[in-house]
């Protein structure tokens, strides 16, 4: 169990982490999701004990460990850069934490070989890291974190420097490999899609603040506010200002959409996920909006159609190949039941 109680970090008058409380349970996978400089690394360093919080306390298994040196805590960390001992073999690299702990040779051998097997490094145990591919180097670093048997494993964008496809494979393997160890796994990433693929829990970060923490899929489906919804959307969330009068939201350009019941008249912000926009009506309350295509991007199975709407750039993600030309006028349908409604100050009202 790792608990942050009202932990904050201020460096030279600049707030890196606003007071934050967080509780992480053993065996859980926790994703920190946010753009660069949102405080992911600062938070990881506080958890590890590499930095001392400006205020607040850090608790591990019911003990106050605030300010306890990282070496006395059972913590493993893996970075975006591949950090290995260049002069040691892969075997010795993986064995290094066990050697430091003066484990018996037989135990070291068994643990290293087991970890290497899981990380598919067995053929490379006698090689040195720099003769391996990036993926293998990062696997070595991960295997080292694994054998350490740490109760807290912190991964700071560990796959960011790897090829797209390699990322896909490791992303699938990692949670399962570490889940067996029973450690608390914390994984920092900038990519919403990576958080979704990893599953577990997600904390979305924005300007040094955790905006929401919960089951990954729950945070994605039911964001508490506009900031979280935007942070956790890839492609970006489509938003538009709307005014409610009577039963409808009035959007720019004379478009009106059926509003959910129980909302007072006044200004709102509507959010629509790109894959909830469609080229045909999905229900009888579906509203068709006239759009002028700016760019179409095709991935082979799906198309991203970009168009300006209500003063911002919107994107629709739709299945199939649709080669719309720039300037082409199309009709895009918006299903009111899939719409997120936020108050003018960004609090979620309807999901």
């Amino acid at each position: 169990m790792l608990e942050l109680r009202e932990v904050s970090k201020v460096v030279e008058g600049e707030t890196h982490i606003a007071p934050t409380s967080l509780m992480l349970t053993p065996g859980s996978l926790n994703v920190l999701l946010g753009p660069s400089l949102s405080g992911k690394t600062s938070l990881l360093r506080l958890m590890a004990g590499l930095d001392r919080p400006t205020t607040g306390t850090v608790w591990a298994d019911g003990k106050d460990v605030t300010g306890v040196d990282v070496r006395r805590r059972n913590v493993a960390m893996v970075y975006q850069q591949f950090v290995n001992y260049p002069a040691l073999t892969v075997f010795e690299n993986i064995a290094s934490p066990l050697r430091l702990a003066r484990a018996p040779a037989a135990e070291i051998d068994a643990k290293v070989r087991a970890a290497a097997e899981l990380m598919r490094l067995t053929p490379y145990l006698d090689r040195t890291p720099l003769t391996l591919s990036g993926g293998q180097q990062q696997r070595t670093a991960l295997a080292r974190a694994l054998v350490k048997g740490a109760s807290l494993v912190l991964l700071d964008e560990p796959l960011a420097n790897l090829d797209y496809k390699l990322r896909e494979e490791l992303r699938e393997e990692l949670p399962r490999i570490f889940a067996q160890s029973g450690a608390i796994l914390v994984y920092a990433t900038t990519e919403p899609s990576e958080a979704l693929l990893l599953g577990g829990n997600t904390a979305t970060l924005h300007e040094g603040r955790i905006t929401q923490f919960g089951l990954t899929i729950e945070v994605f489906r039911n964001p508490a506010d506009l900031t979280t919804a935007q942070a956790f959307s890839d492609p970006p969330l489509n938003t538009v200002a709307a005014n409610k009068t009577g039963a409808n939201f009035m959007l720019g350009g004379g478009l009106s959409v059926v509003a959910p019941k129980g909302l007072a008249d006044g200004p709102y912000v509507l959010g629509v996920r790109p894959h909830h926009l469609a080229l045909s009506a999905q229900g009888k309350s579906s509203a068709g909006l006239g759009a002028t295509v700016s760019v179409t991007e095709i991935t082979g199975s799906e198309s991203f159609v970009h168009f300006p709407f209500g003063g911002s750039d919107w994107v629709m993600l739709t299945p199939g190949v649709h080669e719309f030309q720039p300037g082409e006028a199309i009709k895009v349908f918006l299903d009111p039941s899939r719409m997120m409604v936020f108050s003018a100050d960004g609090q979620v009202l309807v999901n």
Binding site: D64, T66, G67, V68
Partner: protein, 285 residues
């Protein structure tokens, strides 16, 4: 709250003790002398700021100070551009790299007084290679009697001894510029000068700050080489502050004024270094 683990500080204790003995305690002794007068026998009398007043108004001090500033200015004006130029011309890869680096390091490995001795002999117009050659060419060169020749010799000696340091610093700085910058400049059709002006020089600015500070401080404190070669002469032509200071303290046993002078000297170095540092790093983020 639990105490933060400060054990790392323990490792600095030996260094702190060493610095205390080698720097802080002597400095405090100097401060002590600077405000007192003595005629020996460990009898001291308090004189306040008298020595400082005397030093700051003494022509001898001001003349030496001007000599120092002129010397440092000339040294920086020669060594920094020359060092950058040589660094730019050094090979970037291949067998030439280690050869150049070793050649460049050689002058730095020679002790100060040996440099002085080498040049003293080298410049003699009866047996020295340089002096005799110049004489053979009909040039009247004599560092013992001609102030300009003496300055020229001391400057040449310092340039020979220390330009390598600037070269090595700049070479390391240049090596850290990613290839992409050169490729981009090539693609943009940049001339060699434009490449230097807009890529190399900006990327070298930090390294150059360090080079300028090191060379300023070192040249401002120059002692051994002119002492060995010219002994401060002819006349007082190459009597720099450090030489004057030693004369005053040891030759004339004027410990009080010498102490005051060394403090002023120290403060000037600090001040000028600070000015250099501030000016050269003003653009840094």
């Amino acid at each position: 709250m639990k105490p933060w683990n400060n054990k790392a500080w323990l490792f600095t204790i030996p260094t702190l003790v060493l610095v205390a003995f080698s720097a802080v305690i002597p400095l405090m002794t100097v401060v002590n002398y600077a405000f007192q007068d003595t005629f020996g026998n460990n009898v001291f009398t308090w004189v306040g700021l008298d020595w400082f007043r005397k030093i700051l108004h003494s022509e001898r001090f001001l003349a030496a100070l001007i000599r120092n500033l002129a010397f440092s200015a000339i040294i920086l004006a020669i060594e920094i551009p020359l060092g950058v130029l040589i660094a730019l011309r050094m090979p970037k890869k291949g067998i030439g790299v280690p050869i150049c680096l070793v050649l460049m390091s050689l002058p730095l490995l020679v002790p100060f007084n040996v440099v002085g001795t080498i040049w003293q002999v080298f410049g003699r117009n009866d047996i020295g290679l340089l002096g005799a050659s110049l004489k053979g060419l009909g040039i009247d060169y004599n560092y013992v009697s001609d102030p300009i020749d003496a300055w020229g010799t001391v400057i040449a000696m310092d340039v020979w001894h220390w330009t390598s340091l600037v070269v090595l610093l700049c070479y390391a700085g240049l090596a850290s510029i990613p290839d992409a910058y050169y490729q981009a400049a090539q693609i943009d059709g940049a001339s060699a000068w434009a490449k230097f002006r807009y890529i190399q020089l900006p990327k070298l600015s930090r390294v150059l700050t360090i080079a300028v500070l090191l060379r300023f401080m070192d040249s401002f404190m120059i002692y051994t080489e002119p002492f060995v070669v010219t002994g401060g002469g002819p006349g007082n032509a190459t009597t720099f502050l450090s030489i004057d200071l030693v004369k005053m303290a040891i030759g004339e046993f004027n410990i009080g004024p010498a102490a005051a002078m060394s403090l002023v000297y120290f403060l000037i170095i600090l001040l000028v270094s600070w000015v250099f540092y501030t000016v050269m790093t003003r653009h840094d983020d």
